[in-house]
């Protein structure tokens, strides 16, 4: 009988479209099994094409259960055992696992350790071990009892009762025992290397004298009276206190150093350089006194620590002679720009290294100690600073003067040479022309020179007398009628002349400028004048 499925297969109609009642649908799961760890609903949605996903969704594995030895059943036996540490045949019983080897060594037998027993022959004793204090028999007794009590010396000493023997101290027993062992080791042939032998010898080392002294100390320590103990304790407490003071002092000193040195120790109110720009902004405003600027909480803490430079306690400052140095408002609030606390006297300028000795000698001549002020008040400091400046300038000036003097000498020498040449050779026509030209220009020069001389003379009246010579020399230099340099004809001659004049003017100006530093007002006006004069002269 043909079913609907048969008909379909004959007509090649896909069977899935309508399920025949006689052909129950085969579960597709049997073909493509749902992988582990993925829910049925999800699998029906995504189908079998998600193996990777399924692998990820694998069921979480719980911690592995402990494996309690096979099937969980262990057979124990009440079994007799022999202890190899015993010399007799005593058999005790204990519980063991049935799986355990019956002939195995008793596991506690290995703890039966005995120290090496040293024995000696009569010959050995008579050769090495003779001692006036000990008989052979007593030595043997000592070794026997020492081994019997496993070298527990307090007990050996307690039990030591050699018939008709002397009263022995613990040190005597130990000393005898160890010395005998040492001698035996030293004198017997040694199988191993030298190092192990020495190590063994060292382990038998015993210093009786030292032990006796130590014991005495221990006894005296134990026999202290309560008063002594109390005194000792008091001393100890005192010592501790002193140590603590010392520590406190050190800490204070360090704090002070930190305040002075500042940067190295890292003050809390200094923001690191690598802090972002945002940090700088409110900080700058803060220095200008704008307190209302909102700040981020990170910044608040360091900034608030800086003491605000408020003017409201000006009265207080005045009464207590406090002079505040406001920090430069444009300085960035970084580590580098930070100026730590300093002493006013530290800020007095030092002379340059090159001129320092001269300046110092000058100051000593004047009776001023440049290195240290006895009372470095602000006024004193300022005063010293100005004196130091003046001295430095003076020295500089002196140097320049020397240089100029030398220049003058050189030029003078050259001029004389020139005159000689002119006297000897004034024949050529070209030279005549040059001569007239030269004369004309010289007259001009002298005219201008005189004008400038007057100007400078005006200034001179105001100068301290020891500069007088300098300036006069300069003037004399200016007043000297200069002839053009003979080489290279007209053009080059003029050029050379102007150059040489320029040099002189510059010297003069420098002189004046440096001289005038002593009086600011004068300096400004005179410098201006000289400058103007010089420029005019040069470029006219």
């Amino acid at each position: 009988m043909a079913t609907a499925a048969d008909v379909r297969s004959i007509l090649s109609i896909p069977s899935t479209s309508i399920a025949g009642p006689s052909q129950p649908r085969k579960p597709s799961v049997s073909v493509n099994r749902k992988p582990e760890g993925i829910s049925r609903e999800l699998y029906s949605l995504i189908g079998p094409s998600a193996p990777a996903l399924a692998a990820q969704l694998a069921k979480p594995r719980l911690k592995q259960k402990p494996n309690l030895g096979g099937g969980g059943k262990v057979k124990w036996e009440w079994r007799k055992f022999r202890n190899s540490a015993r010399s007799d045949s005593l058999e005790l019983s204990h519980w063991v696992k049935a799986s355990q080897d019956a002939d195995a060594e008793y596991k506690f037998a290995k703890y039966d350790k005995k120290p090496t027993v040293y024995q000696w022959s009569q010959d050995e004793y008579s050769r090495h071990l003779e001692d006036s204090d000990w008989t052979k028999e007593e030595t043997e007794y000592l070794f026997k009892i020492a081994n019997e009590y496993d070298l527990r010396w307090y007990i050996i000493h307690d039990r030591y009762e050699y018939p008709n023997g002397r009263e022995r101290e613990l040190e005597d027993l130990k000393d005898r025992y160890y010395s005998v062992c040492r001698k035996l080791i030293r004198n017997r042939t040694w199988a191993g290397d030298e190092a192990s032998r020495n190590a063994l010898l060292l382990s038998f080392h015993y210093d009786k004298e030292r032990e006796t002294i130590r014991r005495k100390y221990v006894a005296s320590l134990a026999n202290r009276t309560p008063d002594q103990i109390q005194e000792e304790e008091a001393l100890y407490v005192e010592l501790k206190r002193l140590e603590q003071n010392e520590r406190q002092f050190k800490k204070d000193r360090e704090n002070l150093l930190r305040t002075l040195a500042g940067i190295d120790s890292g003050l809390p109110d200094i923001v690191e350089d690598d802090a972002s720009l945002i940090i700088n902004d409110p900080k700058k405003k803060r220095f200008k006194g704008d307190i209302d600027v909102p700040q981020t909480p990170i910044l608040t803490a360091p900034v608030m620590k800086r003491p605000p430079a408020v003017n409201k306690n000006a009265v207080y400052d005045a009464t207590h002679c406090i002079i505040r140095n406001d920090p430069p408002s444009n300085a960035p609030a970084t580590k580098v720009a930070h100026t730590p606390a300093f002493m006013r006297s530290f800020k007095i300028p030092y002379p340059k290294a090159a001129i320092a000795p001269k300046v110092n000698s000058l100051l000593t001549e004047l009776g001023v100690s440049g290195s240290r002020l006895v009372m470095p008040t602000q006024a004193n400091c300022q005063h010293l600073e100005s004196v130091m400046d003046a001295a430095m300038n003076l020295v500089e000036l002196k140097k320049v003067l020397d240089k100029v003097n030398q220049d003058i000498e050189v030029l003078k020498a050259r001029l004389e040479l020139k005159d000689d040449m002119r006297d000897s050779a004034s024949v050529a026509d070209g030279m005549e022309e040059a001569e007239s030209e030269n004369r004309r220009s010289r007259s001009v020069t002298s005219g201008r020179g005189r004008k400038s001389v007057e100007c400078i003379l005006d200034l001179l009246l105001c100068y301290p007398n020891y500069f007088l010579r300098v300036v006069v020399q300069c003037l004399s230099l200016l007043l000297i009628p200069l002839s053009p340099l003979p080489q290279g004809g007209q053009e080059s001659g003029k050029n050379a002349r102007s150059l040489s004049y320029t040099g002189i003017i510059r010297c003069c100006m420098q002189l004046l400028l440096e001289v005038t530093i002593f009086d600011v007002e004068l300096a400004t006006c005179s410098a201006e004048k000289v400058l103007r004069f010089g420029l005019h002269w040069l470029y006219s």
Partner: protein, 381 residues
């Protein structure tokens, strides 16, 4: 078990004290059988012709196997006609009733045979070699034990406290001892003294018809002033105690007054009794003086307080206060558990006999037969 070096061979541990005999398996934490050491016996009528045998030493000497004797909890504490009470430990060691006592503890209470188990017996530090040999003989010959060992109570107490060296203060019913123990099972014997105390037993109401001992206590605390006593009563909670006679009263400072005798003797007591034993601080000082000066500090930092007598309220504190007076640094080890205090010696024996490394120390039957009594002294040192 193996981790702790233990290997149990089901050994028996027997600790005989003056108030009770403790027996149990090694490895346990409490003894299985705790029976009073005192026993009752009724002498056969033949010997009663001498008249009423007085209790105590004379009666004990008269004890023979023939006398009808009663052991255990239903032994001396039950009233029987003409029953006398004896104690083998107090008033001189008497070995005659000891086998019967042990047999009662093992056979009747624990229901085991000593012939199947190695036995460890404790001994006080002042035991004589003869006594320990006698004990070994009893165990080997009468109980047929396969192996035997005898260990010092003080040493065992040290073990129970988990120490190697200690100064053991053992306050028992009739004895108080201070024993230094150095490096395990070898106490310094020369410093051991025997100091019996009768005052604790007097506190017990063992027999009916015993008059209240209240008056006795009165003279003990005679050295104290009335104001002090009143102050103490105010500060300490008094406790009511009812005697078997029905007489009952409140005890305040008296409860502490008894323990006070361990630390202080009133002048009256010293005057009345020429050889009054020393008090505990004196004992400690003496025994320490007998020791090497190097060991003193070790010992005083390891004071082990044990024994049922140490359970007097406040005794540990009092001892600490006394020690603080003469030693700058000390440490008292007193187990808080009363069982550990009362059976400290037994506990140490239990620990020792269950150690794997200990099993080589047993005196075996074979050795006993071969070497005889001398083996006891050689092995158990």
């Amino acid at each position: 078990m193996v981790n702790y070096g233990g290997d149990e061979v089901s050994a028996l541990v027997i600790d005989i004290g003056s108030s009770s005999l403790r027996a149990g398996y090694a490895g346990d934490d409490t003894p299985k059988a705790i029976i009073p050491t005192s026993y009752g016996y009724i002498s056969p009528p033949a010997s009663s012709g001498e008249g009423d045998v007085t209790m105590g030493e004379e009666g004990v000497q008269e004890y023979t196997g023939k006398a009808k004797s009663f052991f255990g909890h239903s032994g001396p504490s039950v009233w029987r006609k003409n029953m006398e009470i004896g104690n083998p430990i107090v008033d001189g060691l008497n070995f005659a009733p000891i086998p019967a006592l042990i047999r009662h503890a093992l056979d009747d209470v624990m229901r085991c045979s000593a012939a199947e188990h190695p036995v460890l017996v404790t001994e006080p530090s002042w035991n004589t070699p003869a006594n320990r040999e006698r004990m070994a003989e009893i165990m080997f010959e009468e109980f047929q034990v396969p192996a035997f060992y005898i260990a010092n109570t003080s040493v065992l107490n040290t073990f129970a406290a988990g120490k190697g060296s200690a100064l053991v203060i053992d306050i028992g019913q009739s004895m108080t001892s201070v024993v230094p123990v150095v490096d395990g099972p070898s106490p310094a014997r020369q410093s051991i003294d025997l100091y019996p105390y009768q005052l604790i037993s007097s506190k017990q109401a063992v027999e009916s018809n015993a008059p209240p001992r209240f008056t006795l206590r009165e003279d003990r605390v005679a050295g104290t002033t009335q104001t002090w006593r009143e102050w103490l009563v105010q500060h300490r909670q008094p406790k009511q105690y009812e005697f078997p006679t029905g007489y009952n009263t409140w005890f305040g400072p008296e409860r502490y007054g008894v323990g006070e005798n361990f630390f202080h003797h009133s002048p009256q007591l010293v005057a009345g009794n020429a050889n009054v034993p020393k008090h505990i601080p004196g004992l400690i000082t003496d025994s320490l003086r007998a020791c090497d000066p190097e060991l003193r500090q070790v010992l005083i930092s390891n004071v082990v307080l044990t024994g049922g007598g140490s359970l007097f309220s406040g005794l540990g504190d009092r001892l600490a206060a006394e020690l603080a007076r003469s030693f700058p640094h000390f440490k008292i080890h007193a187990p808080g558990n009363p069982v550990e205090r009362r059976y400290g010696g037994w506990l140490g024996g239990s620990i020792l006999a269950s150690l794997g490394t200990f099993h080589q120390l047993w005196i075996s039957r074979e050795e006993w037969q071969e070497h005889g009594k001398n083996i006891v002294g050689q092995r158990c040192k």
